[in-house]
């Protein structure tokens, strides 16, 4: 029963992910290569979820018969964490770049000569004496 539920869950997630990827591709938010990559990845996930015996065949084919499923999933978790780490680092960099850009625009516009009149009006007289 648990295997069946997880299979349904995987198929559902794959349908959502592929359709989202397709919509992004149609809206030109995603390239053809990315669309093909994510579609292939999710199809592979669904195939493995529906035919779990494939993992045993795969492990045996790579000569890891004794290692078993535990090692396979252990490696998968390490890989997922590595991907998460890379995404975190990239996200942080993008956030920092966004912050600097927005701040620069804000300061340039807020303190620009265009707003000079308003600034002079708002700052006390003493600044003009400096």
């Amino acid at each position: 029963m648990f295997v069946f539920i997880s299979q349904i869950f995987s198929v559902l997630l794959a349908v959502i992910a592929i359709s989202k990827s397709y919509v992004d591709f149609r809206s030109r938010l995603e390239s053809l290569q990315m669309f093909v990559f994510w579609t292939a990845t999710w199809i592979a996930i669904v195939v493995v979820a529906v035919f779990p015996a494939l993992i045993d065949i795969l492990i045996n084919a790579f000569g890891g018969g004794r290692a078993g499923l535990g090692t396979f999933f252990g490696m998968a978790i390490v890989f997922v964490f590595f991907v998460m780490y890379r995404m975190y680092v990239k996200l942080e960099r993008i956030e920092q770049k966004l912050m600097k850009t927005v701040q620069e625009i804000a300061l340039r516009e807020g303190l620009s000569h265009r707003n000079q009149a308003e600034r002079v009006e708002n700052i006390p007289d003493s600044i003009h004496r400096r």
């Binding site: 975190y88 956030e95 920092q96 966004l98 912050m99 927005v102 701040q103 625009i105 804000a106 300061l107 516009e109 807020g110 303190l111 308003e118 600034r119 708002n122 700052i123 006390p124 007289d125 003493s126 600044i127 400096r130």
Partner: protein, 243 residues
């Protein structure tokens, strides 16, 4: 005994010039006008002007602030309290302020308390004065005291410096102290980062008690549980990057 609440320095006091009050604000149209109206025009012989950093507000925060005589710097998207504070500090320096005050725009900080903090900065020749809610915590909700103590401990863990109120947004800096700060936090962890910078740059500081004004509005606008979780996660991420 080691004094955790201050370090000392012998420099000439600031006796005249400009004082900038920096207020990060996001959707504070309901109170920003009242807060700005209470800021004194002159403090310790210095002319005072306000800088409101409108952090992508969806309401009329910026417009109301401008009407009340503040210099308004607007972020086109919401970046967070930390980013808005950094922008405000940069603007204050660009406008040649000699002393820079940071305070919340939700009315939690009493503008009348700017004067004693600035006096302390001048008379004690400090680089930074921190308005501490913990030194005289009467009236402060117990949950906030507990949360502050937890965040003080976390700040110590990440930055190696303990102060009585690491999360206080009510601070006074000399312009030269602000110049030395290297800040990059976009969110609420900016307060802890400033404490870390005070330590790293060996700045002279003192914590002075302040009385926060807890109204229904400031309670609702203050840090929520999820903000606290984000703050802790942000500090832990910094700790991980340092190790």
């Amino acid at each position: 005994m080691i004094n955790l609440e201050s370090t000392e320095k012998a420099d000439l006091p600031i006796s005249s010039g400009l004082l900038a009050v920096v207020m990060p604000a996001c959707n504070e149209a309901a109170v920003i006008g009242q807060v700005l109206a209470l800021i004194p025009a002159n403090i310790e012989g210095m002319s005072v002007f306000s800088i409101v950093v409108d952090d992508g507000s969806a309401d009329a925060t910026g417009e109301i602030a401008r009407r009340h005589g503040a210099v308004v710097i607007r972020h086109i998207v919401n970046l967070g309290a930390g980013a808005a504070t950094i922008t405000g500090l940069k603007a204050a320096r660009a406008l040649e302020a000699d002393v820079i005050v940071t305070m919340d725009s939700d009315g939690q900080h009493n503008p009348a308390e700017i004067e004693p903090l600035v006096r302390c900065l001048n008379e004690g020749h400090f680089d930074v004065v921190i308005g501490s809610r913990i030194l005289e915590p009467a009236g402060m909700p117990l949950t906030r005291i507990a949360a502050n103590l937890l965040l003080n401990a976390l700040t110590y863990l990440v930055y190696g410096k303990i102060v009585s109120d690491s999360q206080s947004g009510f601070k006074v800096f000399t312009s030269s102290a602000v110049e030395r700060l290297e800040l990059e936090s976009a969110g609420y962890e900016i307060c802890s980062e400033i404490v870390g910078e005070i330590y790293r740059k060996n700045l002279c500081y003192k914590s002075v008690p302040v009385k926060p004004v807890y109204t229904d509005y400031s309670r609702a606008k203050g840090q929520h549980f999820l903000n606290g979780v984000n703050l802790i996660l942000g500090l832990l991420m910094r700790l991980m990057r340092r190790t």
